[in-house]
Assembly symmetry: C2
Homo-oligomer: 189 residues x 2
DNA sequence: GGTAGTATCCTAGACCCTCTAGGCAAACCG
DNA sequence: CGGTTTGCCTAGAGGGTCTAGGATACTACC
């Protein structure tokens, strides 16, 4: 029995790729073992259990995405930063639907995904610097922004916009413009 | 062996209640059979398979929610209608998280949930009557509205807003006001 | 290069969930 | 009241999760 050379990281990477191919819900310990030509039980030396595997995939995806967001936002501010931020999310979700789905699970506050999740919160806040908001307005704005983008991407990925002639790209542009206008003229009270 | 008197509808109803109690993901044929004090195999005379069961729960939830939305929106228009619509969704999701999760699955276009899903599309469109939009703007508005509300509710339910002092209710009100303002002053082009 | 130790992968097996096939009996219906 | 339907059953195959414990490929040290 030659050793395959599995490590937690290689398993996570393979699981992430598998998620994009067959859907995150179908990423099982068994499927992953099959992919490596190995018995199920062998994986449990590297991962705690199935939930742990999924959390690792989520952590990896969150890190990748945060890197892309940070890169694309570099040197931009205001509307450009907003667009870069939003488009990074949407593009990532389109290119890696399985990984994006992985990020949506209930992830434990002490799991491997906790640290990268905080990075996302910071990146989101950084967009709002240009828009001079009071601390409370900032919280509302973050929530609204996150909700809108996440909601749009989820529904688009789910296929909700496919049965209407108008291209999703147009609606997306309109949404971004609307968010920018809203942030610029945030209701005082 | 006394007969329990299961029907597809009673199973669906019980599955919906179970979903709210233990989470939609944990609603299995086995769990449902246990709940009725019956063997797993017995359920398959009433439902096609596990997927069918879940689709039925989704259909039931969609119908219930559409009824509530329609009731709460009756006689209202403009901002009142928008608020009634949005709050109906949010309240339903809060009171019935399992059922709300059921609605988010990929549901086949020919499954039991197809008809109620169309009702929701119609109800959403009816909100926009008051806001005089061009046909294309209407599509963009529906998408943006749906995305924002769905995104907000999903994130709130997921607990994303629990670790910040500001009450979610305040942010929700701000979001509704912002949506109303946006719809009232929809960007011409 | 031999040997001791460790990490990797294995077999075996328990448990849960899904679903099919076929049997028996309760309920209904003429 | 006897026949048919239908509801629930047992039996069992197949797949996923996970633990315990055994065997072997590698590593490191003498």
């Amino acid at each position: 029995m030659p050793r395959v050379g599995m490590t937690a990281d290689r398993l996570t990477q393979a699981a992430a790729e598998l998620a994009d191919e067959i859907g995150f819900a179908n990423v099982t310990v068994s499927a992953l073992a099959r992919h490596f030509g190995v018995k199920d039980a062998s994986l449990y030396s590297h991962i705690k259990n199935a939930k742990d595997l999924r959390a690792r995939v989520a952590a990896q995806a969150l890190t990748e995405l945060a890197d892309q967001v940070a890169t694309n936002m570099a040197g931009r501010s205001g509307k450009d930063a907003l667009a870069a931020f939003a488009n990074s999310y949407r593009d990532y979700a389109t290119q890696h639907p399985g990984r994006y789905a992985a990020m949506q699970q209930d992830l434990d506050a002490d799991g491997p995904a906790a640290a990268p999740a905080r990075r996302h919160a910071d990146l989101t806040r950084s967009i709002l610097h240009a828009y001079n908001l009071t601390p409370e307005a900032q919280i509302d704005a973050i929530r609204l922004l996150g909700a809108t983008l996440h909601g749009y991407i989820t529904l688009e990925l789910q296929g909700s916009y496919r049965h209407t002639p108008r291209p999703s790209q147009s609606s997306w542009q309109v949404a971004l413009t609307a968010l920018h206008t809203l942030l610029t003229n945030w209701p005082e009270d």
